[in-house]
């Protein structure tokens, strides 16, 4: 059906791009989640007033286009002579971006654990940390997981913007091939399909877990 000049080599090139997408996503989601959990716990712990500066700071990452953040972050690291490779810069910005969203998820999830349940734990002589670890963490994880999966998918898609800094991820790899082979529709369709194949199973897993855990046993 398709008469294409695309070679297996080129497909490999695309898949390498997909690998870069996954690498950027993986690093950013891991670091962002870690930060998000820490910030989220801090926010719940010190209350909305004291956390206001943190909230404001994180809100910036949710109110400015990621593209602008990336370019700005890159310009900043260059001015500050940090000498980061584009991969590092991308991961740093994307991590903060992820953390901003993750903080909200974590905060909501912790708030959703009924205070009476936490009281019961403390009444048994558990310390704050034990309460957090054995009661809050497992319960909050169930609440947070579907949104967290949504966030992960979001970051994977948004990571396409790192092409702006010269990283050859999936979308950039497709553009390179489009430049050489001049078959935009075909190559872009493959690119879209790969994105779809990367995210669809995770999306389904999210839906499944949501269904499974929402009545909660």
């Amino acid at each position: 059906m398709f008469d294409t000049a695309m070679t297996a080599n080129d497909l490999l090139f695309l898949l390498k791009g997909a690998g870069m997408t996954l690498a950027v996503t993986g690093v950013s989601v891991a670091a962002g989640t870690l930060m998000g959990v820490i910030f989220g716990v801090i926010r719940v712990q010190i209350g909305p007033w004291w956390a206001a500066p943190l909230t404001f700071l994180l809100d910036i990452f949710r109110s400015v286009p990621l593209l602008i953040q990336l370019v700005l972050g890159n310009a900043f690291q260059s001015i500050a002579k940090l000498g980061w490779a584009p991969f590092t810069t991308s991961c740093v910005i994307l991590s903060l971006y992820t953390a901003a969203y993750c903080t909200e998820i974590v905060r909501g999830a912790i708030d959703s654990v009924p205070p009476t349940t936490r009281r019961a734990a403390r009444s048994l002589g558990m310390t704050w940390a034990q309460d957090m670890r054995f009661i809050v963490a497992p319960l909050a994880t169930r609440i947070a997981l579907p949104s967290w999966i949504g966030l992960t998918l979001g970051v994977m898609k948004d990571s396409s913007l790192v092409l702006w800094l010269g990283l050859i991820e999936l979308l950039r790899a497709s553009q390179v091939l489009v430049t050489r082979l001049q078959e935009p529709l075909f190559i872009l369709s493959i690119c879209g399909l790969i994105y779809f194949l990367l995210s669809f199973p995770i999306a389904r897993l999210g839906g499944y877990l949501e269904k499974r855990w929402s009545p909660n046993d």
Binding site: N74, Q77, S78, K81, W84, P86, W164, Q175, Q182
Partner: protein
Amino acid sequence: DKLDDIISSGTLRCAVVLDFPPMGSRDANNTPVGFDVDYCNDLAAALGVTAEIVETPFPERIPALMSGRVDVGVASTSDTLERAKTVGMSVPYFAFEMAVTSNDKAGITSFEGMKGKTVGATAGTFEAIALEKQVKEWGEGEFRPYQTQADVFLALSQGQIDATVSTSTVAQANVKTGNFPGISVVGKAPFDTDYVALFTNREEYGLINYLNLFVNQQVRTGRYAELYEKWVGGDLPDLTVSGVYR
């Protein structure tokens, strides 16, 4: 200073734009090739170090330099006064003539024929700035900047735009590939010659001095003509302007 740093580190890192044939592009194995790539290799050889090509999209050239990820830009960068406020430019190492390429269906045969049509160019380039000004002057038609040269030609061959002004080298290289059916170079654009320079940090006088001499040597030794023949072909553009020093 930086010159010493390069020599003692043993590598020269050049910022090169790789979707700008014939100056920089990728071959079928996706390895970097082009005039700028060779030029960087020559510079490295002169310094007695090995070259490292760092691919940078157009917008990434300066941040890469500022952050110290590259030492020198060999990236077809027009030496505008505006930019010289930010980075240090060498004397021109290459000069572009501007050519009009049009989609055959648009029926454009000259620069003037673009009046009232939809035209495009690579955002922020010398020719894009000049062309946008021209469209405004004509008072009709539309100008569209694209982020890469490749996108401009893609848009042109799809008929999204009717014509483009680009450096003649790029125009010829693209038409020659045969990748873009239905487009052809139809004439010269009466813009000033676009002189492009090597660039590095503004305050690195020692290095800038070296770069100036290197450009001079390339012309003197005939290497410039040789590279030009290899990648572009045809009349060798003059790198000097009569009546003034630089």
